[in-house]
Symmetry: C2
Subunit: 325 residues, 2 copies
């Protein structure tokens, strides 16, 4: 089960395991948005998923795959947000404890979500080293099973289930675009896409301000995380050896986008698709917006990864950018 790389069979097993525990999210289109983007774009709305993000899929798969005797001690994770809420929710559904190590600067709305799902939040310094140390101590103390946000076969397989659904909800796209941070969604998407869409290009989309995946993909060398101030707070993590291996094998391209492009793409999706997305989810939309015309073909699929925002903060951005604001 915890072999190094998941297969498409793991994705199919995940789909069966989480059926009924997460939403089958809708696929939306907007004629006007497609016109503005220069391609017919279908959006798989994981912002409308349980906990407001695709992370519900991987976390639920990992929590429910645990044998009962192990599950009883609970689960733990460190995460800046959506994965934490997803683990807390899945644990509550299964009736086991969830412990979440969170950096002290995590967005209020994401912290509140974990607590709302009955999870215990353990604060730590906002560094990867502090997070990992706190999580290790926690696991030793409680016997909880650690569920990594992306460096986990079951989590990656769970994230891939969105694409299995996407394939029956919309026509085959010329390219499928998803954001890349730690690479869980991208590698899961690529695994599933290879099985359901033989000739679709799989494209990872990354903020230029956090381009470790793009640099690693080009050079063939896994890059460490670097400090970044990108507005796409869900994409600040770096790939793991596992997600890097999957991405090198199954992904066609990684493109980067500007911070301005992310804000503009977010605004267009709110305005025309009428759904609220977080900055990370806007990154693939920005890739189409900033790409050359037709760069990804006439039919594009995008997984909108999440919709958790501090509304006042984003509204402030839009109000500042708007002539009417």
């Amino acid at each position: 089960m915890n072999d190094f790389l998941p297969t498409v069979d793991d994705v199919r097993a995940a789909a069966a395991r989480i059926d009924g525990l997460v939403h089958r999210t809708p696929v939306l289109q907007s004629t006007e948005l497609s016109r503005l983007l220069g391609a017919e774009v279908s959006f798989k709305c994981e912002n409308l998923q349980k906990v407001g993000a695709f992370k519900a899929r991987g976390a639920t798969n990992a929590v429910y795959a645990l044998p009962a005797a192990t599950a009883v001690a609970g689960v733990a994770t460190h995460s800046s947000g959506n994965h934490a809420a997803a683990v807390a929710r899945a644990a509550r559904l299964r009736g086991i404890p969830a412990y979440v190590v969170m950096p002290s600067n995590a967005p209020m709305v994401k912290r509140a979500a974990v607590i709302g799902y009955g999870g215990s939040v353990i604060d730590c310094e906002p560094t990867l080293a502090a997070r990992e140390a706190a999580a290790d101590a926690l696991v030793r103390r409680t016997g909880a099973t650690f569920i990594h946000p992306y460096d986990d076969v079951l989590v990656i397989a769970g994230q891939g289930t969105a694409t299995l659904e996407f394939a029956v909800q919309a026509p085959r796209p010329d390219a499928v675009l998803v954001p890349v941070g730690g690479g869980g969604l991208l590698s899961g998407t690529a695994l599933a896409a290879r099985a359901v869409w033989a000739t679709t290009r799989v494209v990872g989309c990354e903020p230029g301000a956090a381009d470790d995946a793009a640099r690693g993909f080009r050079s063939g060398m896994l890059q460490p995380a670097a400090p970044t101030g990108t507005i796409a707070d869900g994409l600040r993590a770096a790939l793991s050896a596992r997600t890097f291996a999957l991405i090198r094998r199954d992904v066609d391209e990684i493109v980067t986008v500007s911070e301005e492009g992310i804000v503009e793409a977010m605004r267009l999706v709110w305005q025309y698709l009428k759904v609220v997305i977080e900055p990370s989810a806007a990154v693939p939309v920005a890739a189409v917006l900033e790409g050359s015309p037709g760069a990804f073909g006439g039919q594009v699929g995008i997984v909108l990864s999440g919709g958790n925002v501090d509304l006042g903060v984003i509204a402030g951005l839009f109000a500042a950018a708007s002539p009417q604001g």
Copy 2:
């Protein structure tokens, strides 16, 4: 066909006529939003409908019901917004001209939508009398068929189709709540609800600052429109004799809400349901928010009527109201 009152058979005929021409919109729920509202609320997302509003249903039904010989001269309407875009879109689909008389103070985004769908916009003073005079002149000049935003059997029947779908997408609610302006959505909803949900209360929701429907419902006397500054710009119209008759017969209650309630309800839906709604669509949500606990039962259905906003304007409201903005 243009008898005074439509029947549920007209609603079923409309559903067949517009099938494939408008979206079957999703029904969404949010655990957190239900908790905040004190009831399990299902949302029929007509903000995700074509043209961003339920108005696509009635307008498409009316445009496609025209005999070919009549249709060729085109269609006309006067409207402050979503109905106009809906008529323009349906006319373009059918390949006939659309003429829209619009008040000079209509929101830019709604004007742009009509033009985007290939409609001709004729400006007029922002009074009902000026609108009607301009529309009359237009119809005489062009031979176009006038399609009223709500005082029309085919339009009312079309609006009712949202509830036929809602009934197969979600469990029977104790109450269904929709906004009321001219009464097209409310009377269509009531017609359909009586057929598909035997014991569901049908509740119209209106801004207290534009409460002509509530006053008329209480007094039994149709009230004229009064000038109003409500933020719910889609609900400034008054009932017609036709919608008033249907509402008196089939609606259980009309409740009013505050302007502050509308903004707060809109914010909650954006934040937790992750969809963009316009102020008019927030009015039923405000009714639950401001009502006494359990006022509408444990299971509530709400039709989110539209999602067309000037994003900068609404973002400015949220940013001003938010401690983070």
